[in-house]
């Protein structure tokens, strides 16, 4: 009989895992469900629904930290931060546009469990760079903690890094403490139109290598630029290369002037200011231009920045992929025509010469059960990762098979 446990506090989480361990009954760990469709499709008879563990424990703006329970909705966290002019600098994406609006809203636990980071990743780091400490229940049914509430901390292993991006396969987080940062006063975006992927990559590298502290560098081919809700981008009729500058007013204005001068040789320039600029980067963050049609496959590839445009060109030609670049060329978002094997072999072959990894973000449940969703690892690394899993969850009761088949 399948059941859903809905604990309302840490000790009930511990009880549920204790039972699951005794019965060797795998649990699906669910925060608010927005990312249930992310990762391998796996079988668990029971689910552990954490929605009862919600709310901010403490928020200390002058210490730049916030601590919350795992199922705290992102909207609640973002509202609290906005009130004090702060933000999550790693800019976590909202997966609902891609995975379906029907799913629940995102939770802070899910954001860290999936290590989701947006365009500012290139300047401010990933989710994994912001988690300072956590409390959790391991698959051994033991409540433990790691880290703390301060940034400078090398006391013991940095398990905050390990738990971030572990997709609920090591331990059930019951409390998370993370770093927050001041939100920028002003955001401008410099747009260069009409570049091909190679030229766009050079322009992005020039901007990233300048002293202007670029906080986002993306490239949209013409067809995808047309899908933007930002009118200038939509009507551009050509590709758009975008560079974001943010910070204190006078600084942003001056950097914007200087960056425009340095990029003048690349092509026609335009600027987006506050509202449009923010909207544009939300679209990039959430990959909204790839949302429709809903049956297309979506891949997310991380490669060296100079390699992204080559991968995009290769796959556009061979597989009819549509896509765009973020992270100064290092993040490739792809949409492919539907197919049973998600074209995983040619996609992964395309990045092999450069190094990096490819994640199948959207595909049918069947496909996600049969195709490796995450980049397969060389045998010694896979074996080591499996031993790490065993050290937390020897009976494989927490999200077993979500990352790797059989573990």
């Amino acid at each position: 009989m399948a059941s859903t446990f809905q604990p309302t506090d840490d000790s009930q989480v511990l009880d549920a895992v204790t039972w699951a361990l005794a019965e060797v009954a795998p649990l699906e760990i669910v925060g608010r469900g927005s990312k249930r469709g992310l990762g391998r499709n796996f079988q668990a008879d029971h689910s552990l629904d954490l929605s009862g563990l919600s709310g901010i424990n403490f928020y200390e703006p002058e210490e730049l930290i916030l601590s919350a329970k795992p199922a705290t909705p992102m909207a609640e966290i973002e509202a609290a931060l906005a009130e004090r002019g702060q933000m999550l600098a790693f800019e976590p994406m909202d997966m609902r546009p891609i995975l379906g609006m029907g799913a629940g809203e995102g939770s802070i636990g899910g954001v860290f469990a999936c290590n989701l980071s947006g365009p500012r990743r290139v300047k401010s780091g990933a989710a994994r760079d912001h988690l300072l400490g956590f409390n959790a229940v391991s698959g051994r049914a033991e409540a433990f903690k790691s880290g703390g509430r301060v940034v400078k901390n090398v006391t013991g292993y940095d398990l905050s890094k390990l738990i971030t991006g572990s997709h609920g396969t090591l331990a059930v987080m019951t409390e998370l403490t993370f770093k927050v940062l001041p939100a920028p006063e002003k955001t401008y975006t410099v747009l260069v139109s009409g570049l091909d992927g190679a030229a766009a990559t050079r322009a992005m590298a020039a901007a990233m290598n300048s002293a202007h502290e670029v906080a986002g560098a993306a490239f949209l081919p013409a067809a995808l630029a047309g899908r933007s809700d930002v009118s200038y981008v939509q009507g551009a009729g050509s590709s758009i290369t975008a560079l974001r500058l943010e910070g204190f007013g006078p600084s942003v204005e001056q950097r914007c002037r200087e960056l425009r001068e340095e990029l003048a040789e690349f092509g026609a320039l335009e600027e987006l200011h506050s509202h449009n600029s923010i909207r544009f980067w939300t679209e990039i963050r959430d990959a909204t231009c790839l949302t429709a049609p809903a049956d297309r496959l979506i891949w997310r590839l991380s490669v060296p920045p100079t390699a992204g445009h080559q991968v995009l060109a290769t796959l556009s030609e061979s597989l009819g992929a549509k896509g765009f670049l973020d992270w100064s060329g290092g993040l490739v978002w792809l949409s492919l025509p539907p197919s049973g094997d998600a074209a995983h072999e040619p996609v992964r072959a395309s990045i092999a010469p450069h190094g990096g990894h490819a994640t199948l973000v959207r595909a049918s449940a069947d496909t996600r059960a049969s195709v490796p969703v995450f980049q397969p690892q060389p045998a010694p690394l896979a074996a080591l990762s499996a031993r790490v899993k065993d050290s937390f969850d020897p009976k494989r009761i927490l999200n077993p098979g979500r990352m790797v088949a059989g573990s």
Binding site: A143, K145, Y157, N209, S251, P304, S391
Partner: protein, 495 residues
């Protein structure tokens, strides 16, 4: 400090081990003479000394793999060592262990400006990376004070920080990839010039693991463009409370300085005696706030910080108007350790972290602990991130003073934990803070960490005796007590 008991069986076959290592690393790469091994007998925590059994200095990853494979098969312990500047005894040799030095891994392999990455061998110094890229206006951001000497491999093992980490992050935030060798001799590569290693974040786990999980043989770091400009403020306060509030308000105003350092009165005076660059001797606390970035931004932020400092009753305030003046502001801070070294025969450098707002409280506690133990203390802090470096002054030639200094240091670190902080911010646990781990972690917490160690090194051969106060056998840690099914739970809502 109690170290694991040397294994007599291993000591007995020392000759055989030397011969085997010479097969792997020919020529002068194996050192077995006592005189020649002496330079390796301690690291930056020089109160502790121990001769290694043998020193080996390989030059290639393949040699490292062979050495480790051999030691694993023969159950010989291994202590990795970079430049030996650790302040926590992480690289302290063991009597029955091979000391594996990475000094010959001293080449930079690839400088890639387009991808903003440098690939290097682990023995290259921290500053060596910046030197390789600075002619193009780039630098490697984490800047431990030991940067001319410490190795990037050691930085990874300790997750080292520095003055500029407040804005630019610690080592862990600036490393893109590594190659490492497990104790079984398996070569593993994670990350690279792309962002975010996929699968479990073993890169993040290895960073700060103090040489207990693997031997790092190659490193890829990200480099940054040098900020256009930097200026500093030197601000004196009549009380540490006022200085502490000023720090909190700067951060609260949304300003993240490139560096924000604080010194207390004894440290100010020691530095002033030593370099004499005009620190206010009567100030109870001194702040150095450095703003870096585009010129307009720096000028604008200098104004903001000045307003905040004045509102908090600054008793003196100077703004640097030239590079020379900025460097002069830093000269005293940078020479704080040797300056304190002049006013006391010996000193011990501690490294706790507290939440910023607890600065005044920890200073109060330190001065009463100073009275209790009868030893003086001078303080320098990375104030922006609450990382303290109390320098405890003592004289090792006076019987009992070293022990008193250690007890004083232990009390300070316990106070840090009590105030919501941690035992070590950047120097590592090593042997120095090993026995204090229980102040911060429960047995369950520590057992889970040791289980992770078991996933990498089931025989416990890599750098044993460091970090963990109690060594458990992996088989023992793997055991589980299963509480038989209490289902159904009356208290958990089920559907």
């Amino acid at each position: 400090m109690l170290m694991p008991k040397p294994d007599e069986a291993v000591l007995a076959k020392r000759g055989e081990i030397i011969a085997a290592l010479r097969e792997i690393v020919p020529g002068e790469g194996v050192i077995a003479e006592e005189d020649e091994m002496r330079v390796y007998e301690s690291d930056g925590l020089s109160a502790y000394r121990q001769m290694p059994m043998i020193v080996v200095l390989p030059e290639t990853t393949e040699q490292v793999a062979e050495i480790l494979r051999y030691c694993h098969a023969e159950e010989v312990k291994v202590v990795p060592r970079g430049a030996g500047t650790s302040l926590s005894g992480g690289a302290l040799p063991l009597a029955d262990a091979v000391l594996l030095g990475l000094g010959k891994f001293n080449r930079i392999l690839d400088v890639d400006f387009e991808n903003r990455a440098v690939v290097t061998q682990p023995g290259v110094t921290n500053l060596g990376i910046t030197h390789a890229v600075q002619d193009q206006g780039f630098y490697y951001a984490p800047d431990p004070s030991s940067q001319i000497a410490c190795s990037i491999g050691g930085n990874i093992a300790e997750n080292s920080g520095g003055v500029h980490c407040l804005k630019y992050g610690l080592t862990t935030n600036n490393v893109l990839g590594i190659e490492f060798v497990t104790i079984e001799g398996e070569v593993i590569r994670i990350g690279g010039k792309h962002l975010d290693a996929e699968g479990y974040d073993l890169l993040g786990l290895m960073t700060g693991s103090e040489g207990l999980l693997g031997v790092v043989t190659e490193v890829t770091v990200r480099i940054l463009r040098k900020p256009a400009t930097a200026r500093a403020l030197l601000v004196g306060f009549a009380s540490s409370e006022a200085a502490g509030t000023c720090v909190a308000e700067i951060i609260g105003a949304g300003v993240i300085p490139g560096g924000m350092e604080m010194m207390d009165n004894p440290a100010i005076n020691a530095a002033e005696d030593f370099v004499g660059t005009g620190y206010p001797r009567d100030a109870a606390a001194l702040l150095i706030v450095e703003l870096d970035g585009p010129e307009v931004e720096v000028d604008y932020l200098i104004g903001r910080v000045r307003e905040i400092a004045e509102a908090n009753g600054a008793t003196s305030l100077r703004v640097s108007e030239s590079e020379d003046e900025r460097n002069a502001f830093w000269a005293g801070r940078k020479s704080a350790f040797p300056a304190v070294g002049r006013i006391s025969p010996d000193y011990m450098c501690m490294d706790g972290t507290i939440p910023r707002k607890m600065l005044p409280e920890i200073l109060r506690r330190m001065s009463s602990l100073s009275e209790k133990h009868g030893l003086r203390v001078a303080n320098v802090f990375h104030a922006g991130d609450g990382n303290l470096h109390p320098l405890i002054l003592f004289d090792a030639n006076q019987p009992g003073e070293l022990e008193t200094a250690e007890a004083f240091g232990g009390d300070i670190l316990k106070a840090c934990v009590e105030l919501g902080g941690v035992l070590t911010g950047e120097h590592g646990v090593g042997i120095e803070k090993r026995d204090l781990m229980g102040e911060m972690f429960t047995e369950v917490d520590l057992d889970q960490q040791q289980r992770v160690k078991c996933a990498f090194d089931a025989k416990g051969l890599l750098n044993p005796g460091k970090v963990f106060p109690k060594l458990h056998r992996c088989a023992e840690l793997g055991r589980m007590v299963v509480h038989q099914g209490k289902m159904p739970f009356p208290d958990i809502p089920r559907f």
